[in-house]
Assembly symmetry: C2
Homo-oligomer: 148 residues x 2
DNA sequence: GTCAAAGTTGACGCTGGCGTCAGCGTTACG
DNA sequence: CGTAACGCTGACGCCAGCGTCAACTTTGAC
């Protein structure tokens, strides 16, 4: 018997910087189901893990419903469901990889803009600042147009 | 004189699979500002570029307000603002990289689950089902590769 | 005993991001 | 000429995801 560590609702809330209200809400929506000690919720290590997944899901833009579906796929123990689960996983991966490409494109764009800004700032240390400003503006416009 | 190509609201909406209502909404929020021909909106190539950036921003989980702020950074033409812009860009990059890690973790998790499901299916499957599983695998690979 | 801290269940409120009318004007066709 | 297709501006509606009470209980410290 390990007599695992457990968490109260506010402990978990603090740790992950959400409110207790949010945790109850997730429970309401079927994403969490902590045990009870009388009325009080008692979160296990596994519940904590699920919460992590929930929050990660949110950060990458999934709705609570979508997160629930993914979490529910863990419960697969029937073969028919396993086939369906496989498909869903696969589809999710495709979507995530597209999203990662979006993010990488965004990062790259920001990096380029930073470079432009830096050279702009260097130049404008000299008296030729006004011309550099114009140049930057032109560049920025071009980049907007070239966004294919 | 190039007399550039322009777009009507519904053309642009169809192309990007959003509704005209959404485009008007973005305008309301200051993310787009197409010219007018009388009452009618006339979208330029640049407007189209901005729209792409807006939609990409949405896909990676930014709010319209955040997207607007990023777009507004293009307008930098004052040195004081350039410094601030630099900071914002850098902060965004940090956030995006964290998000990319989240996504990569999610993808990895899904891959692991898929492995589990596959071995489960192979073990518990009749020869027929096993064949089906292999077939699915082929399909899945194709789909991944075709996702450009 | 009592007081604060932490828990509970409703129930209503608010924000973001549009959807969905209603009511109206403008070409453009047959 | 009607009417269909497209556009416009309000203005209200709707859902997700909690925030924010209210009203009450349970627990531990003093």
């Amino acid at each position: 018997m390990k007599s695992e560590r457990t968490y109260t609702i506010s402990e978990l809330a603090r740790e992950f910087e959400v409110t207790p209200r949010a945790l109850r809400f997730y429970e309401d929506k079927g994403l969490l189901s902590p045990r009870r000690d009388g009325m009080n919720r008692v979160y296990s290590h596994r519940d904590r893990g699920r919460l992590q997944l929930i929050l990660r899901g949110k950060r990458v833009g999934l709705s609570l419903l979508e997160i629930k579906e993914l979490l529910d796929l863990y419960k697969v123990d029937q073969r028919a469901q396993a086939q369906a689960a496989l498909k869903k996983y696969q589809a999710r991966i495709v979507a995530f990889e597209a999203q990662r490409e979006d993010i990488e494109a965004a990062i790259e764009m920001l990096h380029e803009n930073i470079e432009k800004l830096k050279t702009f700032l260097e130049k404008s240390a000299s008296p030729a600042a006004l011309g550099a400003a114009r140049a930057f503006e032109q560049e920025a416009k071009k980049r907007l147009e070239d966004a294919h």
